[in-house]
């Protein structure tokens, strides 16, 4: 029998705010245990939460970027359960009125080849809500220690519809969502720091069946590759169970990315009754149109929209855009260079091929369809000495023929090291094409035409490329330093008149 998988993802994204969501103490990662705490974080007797407006701004912005409906009121609920990482033994969250409803994440599936754009889809979202993160347990041999530094960090839960069917779709969903969050300045989404965490709900059903199968929740998918591998593994596992004549039980499973195996954590019977109720310590917050409009004005163009625009407006090939658009700073850098140079593709080539190589990133895709998307080190454009104006100046030098391609490559490396303008480097290193005496050049050209009757005949017969046969001897006579553009022009003039 053929089976179809149905996948829904629950993604937790830490919101990048200076302070925690319900108190003024700083939020952060990598600090000494229990230093980012205060009486509120530790839930000391008598403490009260006060909402950090920046966290609400961030989730509204996320919702606007993903096309969600924004609720007119932000309401808070308590989710009650006992666990040592939760200082109050309830989590402040949003239950029946999430701040964002609906919306979608646009994804791109792998194309038929690296230079071919893949199919685009929109994965619908169910909801996004805001809550507080919990602390972290560190288990020793005889005891467990709790670090509350993470507790109270604002956390968004982004829930997709069960609308994906392959591990590749889930992978594409996560990479696109991650890029959107980074673009919007909402989170850095560093999975190693737990800033983005993903659980997957997976079920299978015979192809053609419309009813959903029994779902299994897969946890601890702590890299984007593990998400893909874990889902692929779980789909295989479920098919194998059914083919053996077994049944799928509703449960939560823990995926181990290192070994590629999973094991059951708990079954449905052990599910909590969270006893949600509205938090009486927090007043509902009205979100009016002016608030939404202010945040909408801060929303950037998203990567796929930018990609479509780069292709339409700059006539860039897909491969260039798929590198340029996934890093907002890189895309902005490109656009500035493109505008200053007036030659978008040349500027794009310099950036993608040479600048990223120099930044230690050659070939590392930042594209969501590239397998290295997550591990790829972001080029540090901030500190890079080559500014867009340098790229534009170099493009112009090459375009005018003043600098030959090989020389330009040398100039680029030097420019990366020193930050000098290409003109300065070309002059200093004698890399400019020779400012040829026009009489001398004209003589060399005449000599070359006269020496090659065959090519002359071919050119006259309409074979344009025959002109190249005359250029070699001219360049040789010029010891390689003639301006190729000038050589071409001179030859054409002589051929036309002669």
């Amino acid at each position: 029998m053929n089976y179809e998988a149905v996948i829904g993802l629950e993604v937790h994204v830490q919101v990048k705010t200076r302070s925690k969501i319900f108190t003024r103490v700083a939020a952060g990662y990598g600090h000494e245990p229990n230093t980012l705490t205060d009486p509120v974080v530790l839930a000391l007797p008598g403490t009260l939460p006060v909402m950090n407006k920046a966290a609400l701004d961030a989730i509204i912005k996320a919702g606007l970027l993903l096309g969600c409906d924004i609720a007119p009121v932000c309401k808070w609920d308590r989710k009650n359960y006992f666990y040592p990482d939760s200082p109050k033994n309830y989590q402040i969250s949003q239950y029946d009125q999430p701040i964002c409803l609906g919306g979608a994440v646009e994804i791109e599936l792998p194309g038929s080849a690296r230079n071919v754009m893949g199919e685009h889809k929109k994965i619908p979202l169910t909801r996004i809500h805001l809550e507080e993160d919990v602390g972290k347990l560190n288990h020793g041999t005889s005891d467990s220690l709790v670090d509350y530094n993470r507790a109270g960090t604002p956390l968004m839960e982004i829930v997709s519809d069960p609308a994906m069917h392959t591990a590749d779709e889930a992978y594409a969903y996560l990479t696109s969502l991650r890029a959107t969050m980074i673009y919007g300045g909402i989170s850095d989404c560093d999975m190693e720091k737990g800033q983005l965490r993903c659980d997957a709900n997976i079920s299978i059903r015979p192809v053609g069946e419309t009813k959903l199968g029994v779902k299994v929740e897969l946890k601890n998918l702590n890299s984007i590759s593990f998400v893909r591998d874990g889902i692929a593994h779980e789909i295989k596992r479920q098919i194998a169970v059914l083919e053996r004549g077994g049944i799928i039980v509703q449960e939560t499973r823990d995926y181990d990315g290192m070994t590629g195996t999973s094991q059951s954590l708990r079954s449905k019977e052990m599910a909590h009754d969270y006893r949600y109720f509205p938090d009486p310590d927090l007043m509902p917050v009205k979100v009016d149109d002016a608030w939404k409009q202010r945040l909408a004005a801060e929303c950037p163009e998203l990567p796929f929209d930018k990609q479509r625009r780069f292709i339409a407006d700059y006539q860039l090939p897909y491969t260039l855009t798929s590198v340029l658009v996934w890093d907002r700073a890189l895309a902005d850098y490109f656009e500035e260079a493109a505008k200053l140079s007036g030659k978008p593709q040349a500027a794009g080539n310099w950036i993608v091929n040479d600048l990223l190589r120099e930044l230690g990133n050659v070939g590392r895709g930042l594209s969501p369809t590239s397998s290295d998307a997550v591990s790829g080190v972001k080029p540090d454009l901030q500190t890079c000495r080559i500014r867009p104006a340098h790229i534009a100046a170099l493009v112009k030098l090459v375009d005018s023929g003043a600098v030959l391609t090989n020389a330009a490559k040398e100039i680029f490396v030097e420019m990366f090291a020193t930050g000098e303008t290409p003109e300065v480097i070309a002059d200093r290193k004698g890399l400019k094409a020779a400012p040829t005496d026009s009489n001398e050049l004209e003589q060399w050209c005449r000599d070359s035409i006269a020496a090659n009757a065959k090519a002359l005949a071919e050119f006259k017969a309409g074979k344009d490329s025959a002109i190249n046969a005359f250029k070699g001897p001219v360049m040789k006579a010029a010891k390689g330093k003639a301006n190729p553009k000038l050589v071409d022009e001179t030859l054409r003039r002589l051929l036309a008149t002669g």
């Binding site: 530790l42 007797p45 008598g46 009650n80 109050k88 033994n89 309830y90 006893r275 109720f277």
Partner: protein, 487 residues
């Protein structure tokens, strides 16, 4: 000298302090001496720190000597219910759960009292986590009523009421969730004010039921209550439920506001179960206002009979969640007999909480459970809206309502063993909390056996100035507060 000082109202003591006729150290010593003399019998205090109080008093005297006195509370010893956090002092909620807990921070009201120069004096007993109406549910044992040591002082702020009545403080703070300030004030013959929900910050108040809790003063006079309220009221950015409103000079308003007022008498508050002596005393208070030219009008609060049920759903639901944090993990009582993490929760909470607290946690957990939420919690919130609407409807006709504070005077310690019988003590006070209104209990007589009686005046939201003025008019024409218990 001492006994003169300890029963004087703040207003008089402040004049004496400013005139340098007495010092704060002298006043504080008098309070300490009195506490030492009587508290082994009254047992109003969970703990006190004499050296700390005297140091605060000396600092106050130094300010006054330098001409930098901060107002009428500067140098006045004020006791705090042991649910209000004071940096460096124990904070126990009269529970074994927090027996060894010392607060590392100040409640907002604590900060405000410190800023006003008050001498913070002692941690006052209560029903564990403010759950009760008699101060019998305390891990430290019951507090006695200074008027009759075999009787309860009321609760849950029984320690705050008893300490003030016994002269062990000049004023005290309590908290009121269903009558926990007004009822003990009535039982102990002092003034007790529960402000409008949101007027006083709850930051640093150990939560019982967040949507009902409110801190307020116990004082010898209405004027003193106005002085303390002025010091502790006001918006606090640490409490999202605190209201942004201008705080008037309550004391000045007392002089400015003179009746006559329109007073409503809710007929539901004078029915079955009301002690006849209390009924008669309140009738006399009504007669007084009538004589003063006030218009007296009978009003109806038809949903009154649902108050108790509504309260015990909402308050316990919130409490079950609020008290979840007491788990022995980060602080508080931790069982030595636990075998694993789940067992640690069970054992620590089983050992740390008393019976009434457990009863309410279980009830609250039940009403929030999956499948019961709509029938209990959601329904109770709807009824709560109707109860509030009753009051607001009445306030279209009248300025304030006048009722008994409690259906009965102080009862014997151990007399009400049935929790439900005890819950009935609060039938006249609970509606005010559900509706978020201000209410004050003022002494309005004594029973034949010498137990104090309180009358409750209920005001409109944030109209504390009117409420205090109405209460003050009665107080000025009567001398109930000049009597003191003999200990």
């Amino acid at each position: 000298m001492s006994s003169d000082l300890i029963f004087q109202p703040i207003a008089q003591l402040a004049v004496a302090l400013d005139a340098k006729k007495i010092s704060s150290v002298e006043l504080t010593r008098a309070v300490i001496a009195r506490t030492r003399a009587v508290d082994t019998r009254v047992r109003a205090f969970n703990s006190f720190d004499e050296a700390d109080a005297l140091a605060q008093a000396a600092a106050s005297d130094a300010r006054r000597a330098a001409g930098q006195a901060r107002g009428p509370l500067d140098g006045i010893p004020i006791g705090l219910k042991d649910v209000i956090a004071v940096d460096g002092q124990p904070l126990t909620a009269s529970s074994k759960m927090l027996a060894n807990f010392v607060s590392p921070y100040d409640a907002t009201v604590t900060t405000k009292l410190k800023n006003a120069g008050a001498v913070l004096w002692g941690r006052l007993n209560l029903d564990e986590f403010a759950m009760g109406s008699s101060t019998e549910n305390s891990a430290n044992g019951p507090t006695s009523n200074p008027w009759d040591l075999t009787r309860v002082p009321g609760g849950s702020s029984g320690g705050s009421a008893a300490a003030l009545a016994a002269g062990e403080a000049i004023a005290t703070l309590g908290s009121d969730t269903g009558g926990s300030i007004r009822q003990p004030a009535a039982f102990c013959g002092v003034v007790g004010l529960k402000p409008t929900y949101g007027l006083v910050s709850r930051y640093g108040l150990i939560a019982f039921a967040s949507s009902l809790d409110q801190i307020g003063p116990f004082a010898r006079t209405v004027e003193d209550a106005a002085i303390v309220l002025g010091a502790i009221a006001g918006h606090d950015e640490r409490d999202s439920t605190s209201f942004k409103t201008d705080i008037p000079d309550y004391r000045a308003e007392l002089a400015a506001r003179r009746g006559p007022w329109k007073l409503g008498i809710p007929k539901e508050y004078f029915g079955e179960g009301l002690d006849p002596e209390i009924g008669a005393a309140v009738e006399q208070a009504i007669a007084f206002y009538k004589k003063q030219g006030c218009e007296i009008r009978e009003v109806s609060l038809p949903h009154t009979r649902y108050c108790l049920d509504t309260y015990y759903v909402i308050a316990t639901a919130e409490a079950s969640s609020n008290l979840a944090r007491y788990d022995g993990i980060r602080y508080g009582h931790r069982s030595k007999h636990a075998t694993d993490i789940v067992d640690l929760y069970f054992q620590s909470r089983a050992e740390g909480f008393g019976a009434e607290v457990k009863r309410r946690i279980i009830l609250g957990t039940y009403v929030l459970s999956s499948g019961y939420y709509d029938a209990y919690y959601l329904r109770a919130q709807k009824v709560r809206t109707l109860i509030r609407q009753d009051f607001l409807n009445a306030f279209r006709e009248v300025d304030a309502l006048l009722t008994p504070t409690s259906p009965m005077p102080a009862f014997k310690i151990g007399e009400k063993a049935d929790p439900l019988a005890l819950y009935l003590c609060d039938i006249y006070t609970i509606g005010v909390n559900l509706a978020g209104l201000p209410g004050i209990s003022v002494p309005c007589g004594f029973t034949q056996s010498g137990l104090p009686i309180g009358a409750q005046i209920i005001g409109q939201p944030f109209q504390e100035s009117s409420l205090l003025a109405i209460a003050r008019a009665y107080e000025q024409a009567h001398e109930w507060n000049t009597r003191h218990p003999i200990l």
